[in-house]
C-alpha cells in the first residue's frame, strides 16, 4: 500500500519541535530516520497527518567520546558502527550496531529513532541496558532531564517521554578497566527471538563485575537483577553449573517471554536460557584473555 499523505515539518530547534507537537497533538509524530515508522504508516497502522523531522535539530546531533560516551539522538547506526572511538573503547556497542537490520537500514535509521519507537526486539535497548546507559531528554522551554535506560522503555512502543519531549542523546559510561561489553542474539527471522547483552570484568580468574540484560523475548528489554549476586566472585574456570542455571532462569523471569511471529513463549524461553549460557561462556573466555 502507498504511504498515506502527510505534512512534513523540519524544525531546527527543540523549542520549535515541541511547539509543533503541542499544536498537532495526536495527529503528529516525531520522525528520525523512518525505517520503522514509515513501514507501519504504509501498512495503514499509524495514520499521522504531521511528521516532525527532528534531524535538522543541531542539539540532537554528534558523538562525544570523552571519559564517557554521548551519542546524539539523530546519529545513524552506520555512524556509530564506523566511529573510531566507539569501535575502540565501546567495541561491543559498535559490533551490536553492525548487526541491526541491513546496511540500508543502518544508513538511514538512527539510535534515537530506534529507542523512541521502542520495538520490543530492539538491539540497542538491550545493549545500552547492559552498558548502564542513561538517556537525556528535553521538552522545549525546559532543561534536560536524565532517565535511566531501565526506566526509559516502558512497554512495546511506549517510552517514558512526555508529549512534546524529545530524546536528546544517550550517555554511556566508561566501561570499567578490563571490562567488555558483549551483545548476542538468536535470530531466525527478520527480528531476534532472544537477545542477551552483558558487561563483565574478570580479574585474576574471578568475575568482579557483571551486568546482564535480556531482550526480544518479551515486551521490553530488562536487567537481570540477580546477575551480580549470582556471578560476582565466581571463578571463571570453575563456574558453578547451578549458578549458570539459576542465572538463565532469572533471565527468563526478567525477560518474561511472550509469543510473537518469531516464536512461541516456551521456545523463546528455552532459547534465552541457551543464549545466556553461551554468552557467559564467550564473555568470560574473552574476559580472561
Amino acid at each position: 500500500m502507498a504511504l498515506p499523505t502527510f505534512e512534513l515539518h523540519r524544525p531546527t530547534t527543540i523549542e520549535e519541535a515541541t511547539q509543533l507537537a503541542d499544536e498537532y497533538g495526536d495527529d503528529a509524530v516525531f520522525h528520525c530516520g523512518g525505517t520503522e515508522l514509515l513501514l507501519v504508516m504504509k501498512l495503514g497502522l499509524a495514520p499521522y497527518g504531521h511528521l516532525i523531522d527532528v534531524k535538522p535539530i543541531s542539539e540532537l546531533r554528534g558523538v562525544i567520546a570523552d571519559d564517557d560516551l554521548w551519542i546524539g539522538a539523530t546519529t545513524t547506526h552506520r555512524q556509530i558502527e564506523q566511529h573510531a572511538e566507539i569501535r575502540d573503547r565501546w567495541a561491543g556497542l559498535a559490533e551490536m550496531t553492525s548487526t541491526i537490520g541491513n546496511l540500508r537500514v543502518r544508513n538511514v535509521g538512527t539510535l534515537g529513532g530506534n529507542l523512541c519507537f521502542a520495538e520490543s526486539h530492539s538491539d540497542p535497548a538491550t545493549a545500552l541496558l547492559a552498558g548502564g546507559a542513561t538517556v537525556e531528554s528535553r521538552r522545549g522551554g525546559e532543561t534536560v532531564r536524565s532517565i535511566d535506560m531501565d526506566d526509559f522503555v516502558t512497554g512495546p512502543f511506549e517510552t517514558a517521554l512526555r508529549p512534546g519531549e524529545l530524546l536528546v542523546g544517550v550517555r554511556v559510561p566508561r566501561l570499567p578497566d578490563g571490562a567488555i561489553l558483549l551483545h548476542r542474539k538468536i535470530r531466525f527471522h527478520e527480528r531476534a527471538a532472544a537477545t542477551v547483552a552483558i558487561s563483565i570484568r574478570v580479574n585474576d580468574n574471578r568475575i568482579e563485575h557483571v551486568r546482564l540484560a535480556v531482550g526480544a523475548v518479551g515486551n521490553r528489554a530488562g536487567l537481570v537483577a540477580d546477575a551480580g549476586s549470582l556471578l560476582t566472585g565466581q571463578p571463571v574456570d570453575a563456574l558453578a553449573a547451578n549458578a549458570i542455571d539459576d542465572l538463565s532462569h532469572a533471565a527468563v523471569a526478567t525477560g518474561r517471554p511472550v509469543a510473537d511471529a518469531f516464536g512461541p513463549a516456551d521456545y523463546k524461553a528455552h532459547l534465552l536460557r541457551v543464549l545466556v549460557r553461551r554468552t557467559i561462556a564467550e564473555a568470560t573466555a574473552l574476559g580472561m584473555s
Binding site: A2, I186, F188, H189, A261, G263, P264, D266, Y267, V274
Partner: protein, 766 residues
C-alpha cells in the same frame, strides 16, 4: 560460500562454431544491470489509469451488499468494478477447472479474494477510494485445511461439478459432491500382499508446507481494451495460454487478443496461466482506457502459492534391503480455486512412483478445495512435494537393514532403458552413474563433524510438458538474425540459450542474434514456459528454424557459385566455398535481386519422435551435509551437491546458476518458509514475517555436478534443467537432518520444530 562445477570426465565434444557449450554473455544482462529493462509495472500509456483491489476480509461468505458510492464520489476516481458488472457473460476462468470468477460473485471463498476494484488517475487515489468501499458479507462455515475439507459433511467450497477448463484431456475431475476436485492414481501389483509379506514396512504421515514462490516482480499487468481488440502487457509465463483464456472469457478471436510480455522479474511458476489479467482487461473495458494493475507482495501472496499437502506413505522391503512396494496417499490443498492443482497433483503421483524397481505400487493423489488462497505452480512441483518423503523411508529401510544408503539405492534402481511406470518413457538417463557421481562429490565416505548428518536423495519428474513449440528465425537484408520464439525470459537465461542454439546453426556469434520477449501478435505459438521445457522443446524449434534459414542461405550461395550446397560452409557470419566468400547481406540481396527482402525459417515441434511422454525424465538428485544445533534446533546446510543431468549444456554457466537457484529455494522450503493461516486468515503476508532465504542461509559450499551424456531430445542432445535440483535439494536436506538424529515428518524443519522433535521430555515450563 563457494561453488564448484564438477565437469564431465570426458572432454566435451566441441561444437562446430563454439556457440554451444560456452558461457555466452546474457543478451538481457546489460539492460537489467543498467536499470533500463522495462517491466510491466514500468510501462506508461497515454490516458492510463491505476487500479486498486478491495479484498474480502471474510474467509467464506455470501456477499450481501457492496456500497461503492463514496469511492465513486472521490475526485480522480473513474470507475469501480464489482461482481454485478460480470453478469452478462460467463466470467469464470481457470486452466484445469473453469471455477474462478474475475471478481467474487455473490460469494467469497477465501480471505483476501478480490471483491471490487477501483480505477483512478493515480494509484494513491485508487487505494484511498478502495478503502471507502463498504462490503457486507454474511459469514459461512469454512474449511481451512485439507483434513477439514475432506471430513464428512464438510462445507463445500464450490457448488456443483467442476467445469473443465482449457487443460486438454484432463480426466479425474470430481463430481461436485465433495471438496475433492481431482483424483487420480497409478497402481500396479498387489500392494497389500507385498506389505504383509515384507520383513520391513516403514510407514508415516508427513506434511509439506504452503509457500510463496516469491518472484522479485509481483503480479503486474497493463490492459488496453479498444474497438480494435484487447492488448495486455503482462508478466506472464505462458502468453499463448493467457491469450486463449482471455479470448474464451470475453468471446474474442485469438487474433483480437494480443499478449505482449515485457521483461519478467522472476516467475518460478507463480506467473503460469491466468491470474490478474482478466480483471485488468475488464477494468479497461469498463473505463475505456488503459489500466495498470500492479499487485503488492501481500496481494501476490494471495494470488498464487504452492500447494500444501498431507501424505500418508509406506514403503515395504525384504530383510536384505530389496524394495518391494510403495503405497502413497496424499491430499493437495489447492485453495479456493483449482488453478494448476490437478497437474501438480498428477506430477506428484508420477514422482511418488520414483525410479526404484517396485513389485507393487499405489500412488493415489487428490486435489482438494479449501477456503484458502489459490495454489498453482512452483518450481519442481509434485516432485518437491513427495520426493523427500519417499527418500526418508528408503533411508529408514537401509538403516533397519544395516546397509549403506547409497548402496541400497544402487541395488534397487532401474538402469537406463528400464521401466519407470507403464505407458511412459523408459528411463532415459544414467541414474546409477549419477548417484555415484553425487556421492563422490559430497564426500559420502568422509567422516562427519559433530552434530552433522548426510543425505542423498533421488527422484524423477516428467520434463518438457507438451512437445508443442514453434519458432521463426529471420535473416534480414543487412544479414542480421532475429529469433522469434514463445519461450519467456524470466531470468533463467532462455533468450541467451536460444541465441546460442541459432548461432550454432548459422555460424554467427550468439551476441549478434536478437531474441525478444514474446508478443502473440508476431511470435509463433509456444505452449508454455515451464516443466524445464524451453531449451529442449522450444530450443528444438529454434534449431529447426535456424537450420531452415541456413539451408536457404546455402542454397543461394550454391546457385550463385554453381557448386553443390553441401560444399558451402557457414562460419563467422559468412558463407564460403573455396576462396569465395559472401556475407549474409550479400546472399539475401542475391536471393531477392534487390536491396531488400528477408529469409524466414520456420521450426515446428509437434510430438516426440517416438510418441512417448514425458518428453524426458528430469533427474532430481542431490546430496547434502547439514549441521544441527541441538540446543536451538537450527539447521545449517554445510555442503550440498546437485546433479545437472542435462544431456548437453548449451550454456554451462546458466546450468550452474539454475542449480544454485533451485537449491536456495529448496533451502527455503526445507528449513524456513511456510505460509500460515489463523482463523482462515493468512497471517505472515509480508517479508518481515515470512522468511525467504537470505545470504545468511547460504550453504558453505555448493557443488554442481554437470553430466553431459548427450541423451536428451533437445538441440545437440540437451534436456531441461532447473527444477529437479529443487526437489532433490529439499529431499537431500531432509534425509541429512534425519541422519543427524532428528525424527522429522514435516517441512520446513524450522529451529522450533527440530527442537521439539529432539526434546526428550515434555518441554520445561517457563
Amino acid at each position: 560460500m563457494s561453488t564448484t562445477v564438477v565437469t564431465p570426465e570426458t572432454p566435451r565434444e566441441r561444437s562446430v562454431t563454439g556457440a554451444i557449450g560456452s558461457a555466452a554473455v546474457r543478451v538481457d544482462g546489460a539492460a537489467k544491470v543498467r536499470g533500463e529493462a522495462a517491466y510491466a509495472g514500468d510501462l506508461r500509456f497515454v490516458g492510463m489509469l491505476h487500479a486498486a483491489i478491495v479484498r474480502s476480509s471474510v474467509t467464506h461468505g455470501r456477499i450481501v451488499s457492496i456500497d461503492v458510492g463514496a469511492a465513486l464520489a472521490e475526485p480522480g476516481v473513474v470507475t469501480v468494478l464489482t461482481g454485478e458488472d460480470l453478469l452478462d457473460f460467463d466470467p469464470y476462468f481457470g486452466h484445469a477447472v473453469r471455477d474462478q470468477p474475475i471478481l467474487a460473485i455473490d460469494r467469497v471463498r477465501f480471505a483476501g479474494e478480490p471483491v471490487a476494484a477501483v480505477c483512478a488517475l493515480t494509484k494513491a487515489i485508487a487505494e484511498a477510494a478502495a478503502e471507502l468501499i463498504e462490503v457486507e458479507i454474511d459469514e459461512l462455515p469454512y474449511v481451512g485445511t485439507v483434513e477439514a475439507a475432506i471430513a464428512p459433511d464438510a462445507p463445500l467450497v464450490h457448488d456443483g461439478p467442476p467445469r473443465p477448463g482449457s487443460y486438454l484431456g484432463l480426466t479425474g475431475l470430481g463430481d461436485g459432491t465433495s471438496n475433492v476436485v481431482f483424483h487420480q492414481e497409478i497402481a500396479w501389483g498387489d500392494v497389500e500382499a507385498a506389505c504383509s509379506a515384507a520383513d520391513i514396512v516403514v510407514e508415516g504421515t508427513y506434511r509439506f508446507p504452503a509457500v510463496y514462490q516469491y518472484a522479485m516482480e509481483t503480479h503486474s499487468v497493463v490492459a488496453d481494451w479498444t474497438a480494435n481488440g484487447l492488448t495486455v502487457w503482462a508478466a506472464a509465463q505462458h502468453p499463448f495460454l493467457l491469450r486463449a483464456q482471455l479470448a474464451q472469457l470475453f468471446d474474442l478471436q485469438l487474433a483480437d487478443v494480443r499478449v505482449v510480455v515485457p521483461f519478467i522479474g522472476g516467475g518460478f511458476g507463480s506467473k503460469s496461466y491466468t491470474h490478474t489479467e482478466p480483471l485488468a482487461a475488464m477494468l479497461s473495458r469498463k473505463a475505456g482506457r488503459p489500466v495498470r494493475l500492479v499487485i503488492d507482495v501481500s496481494g501476490s501472496m494471495l494470488t498464487s502459492r504452492r500447494h500444501d499437502m498431507v501424505c500418508r506413505m509406506r514403503t515395504a522391503a525384504t530383510g536384505d534391503g530389496t524394495l518391494l512396494a510403495r503405497d502413497a496417499t496424499f491430499h493437495m490443498n489447492t485453495g479456493a480455486y483449482a488453478d494448476n492443482g490437478p497437474r501438480v497433483t498428477f506430477t506428484a503421483i508420477e514422482a511418488a512412483c520414483s525410479p526404484y524397481r517396485w513389485r507393487a505400487l499405489r500412488c493415489d493423489g487428490s486435489t482438494v478445495y479449501t477456503n484458502t488462497s489459490p495454489a498453482g505452480s512452483y518450481r519442481g512441483f509434485g516432485a518437491a512435494h513427495v520426493q523427500w518423503i519417499g527418500e526418508l523411508q528408503v533411508d529408514e529401510v537401509a538403516r533397519r537393514v544395516g546397509v549403506d544408503r547409497v548402496a541400497l539405492r544402487l541395488r534397487n534402481l532401474e538402469p537406463r532403458g528400464g521401466p519407470v511406470r507403464p505407458d511412459a518413457r523408459p528411463l532415459d538417463a544414467d541414474l546409477l552413474g549419477d548417484v555415484e557421481r553425487v556421492a563422490k562429490a559430497i564426500g559420502w565416505d568422509e567422516p562427519l563433524g559433530a552434530g552433522e548428518g548426510i543425505g542423498v536423495a533421488l527422484g524423477l519428474m516428467p520434463g518438457g510438458a507438451r512437445p508443442v513449440s514453434s519458432a521463426e528465425v529471420r535473416c534480414d537484408a543487412d544479414g542480421g538474425v532475429t529469433v522469434r520464439v514463445g519461450t519467456t525470459e524470466m531470468g533463467q537465461g532462455a533468450r541467451t540459450v536460444m541465441a546460442q542454439i541459432a548461432a550454432e546453426q548459422l555460424g554467427v556469434a550468439a551476441d549478434r542474434i536478437r531474441v525478444d520477449q514474446p508478443d502473440t501478435a508476431t511470435t509463433p505459438y509456444d505452449s508454455t514456459t515451464g516443466a524445464s521445457r524451453s531449451t529442449t522443446v522450444a530450443g528444438k524449434a529454434v534449431e529447426l528454424a535456424a537450420a531452415d534459414v541456413a539451408a536457404r542461405l546455402l542454397a543461394i550461395a550454391a546457385e550463385w557459385w554453381s557448386v553443390p550446397a553441401v560444399e558451402v560452409v557457414l562460419a563467422d557470419g559468412w558463407a564460403g566455398h573455396g576462396s569465395r566468400r559472401a556475407t549474409f547481406a550479400e546472399l539475401v540481396q542475391r536471393g531477392f535481386g534487390f536491396s531488400g527482402g528477408e529469409l524466414i525459417g520456420r521450426g515446428d515441434v509437434r510430438s516426440t519422435p517416438d510418441g512417448l511422454l514425458p518428453v524426458f525424465w528430469e533427474v532430481c538428485l542431490a546430496a547434502a551435509i547439514v549441521a544441527v544445533d541441538r540446543d536451538t534446533g537450527e539447521v545449517r546446510v554445510r555442503r550440498i551437491a546437485t546433479v545437472a543431468d542435462v544431456g548437453r549444456a548449451i550454456n554451462p554457466q546458466l546450468v550452474e546458476i539454475q542449480d544454485e537457484g533451485a537449491t536456495l529455494q529448496g533451502i527455503g522450503v526445507a528449513l524456513h518458509e511456510e505460509l500460515e493461516w489463523a482463523d482462515g486468515m493468512l497471517v505472515n503476508d509480508s517479508l518481515l514475517d515470512y522468511h525467504v532465504p537470505t545470504t545468511e542461509n547460504l550453504p558453505d559450499e555448493m557443488i554442481c555436478v554437470l553430466v553431459e551424456n548427450g541423451d536428451g531430445p533437445g538441440p545437440a542432445g540437451a534436456k531441461g534443467v532447473g527444477e529437479g535440483a529443487h526437489a532433490g535439494a529439499i529431499a537431500a536436506i531432509a534425509c541429512a537432518i534425519a541422519d543427524a538424529g532428528v525424527p522429522l515428518d514435516e517441512l520446513p524443519a524450522t529451529p522450533e520444530r527440530v527442537w521439539r522433535w529432539l526434546a526428550p521430555a515434555p518441554v520445561e515450563a517457563i
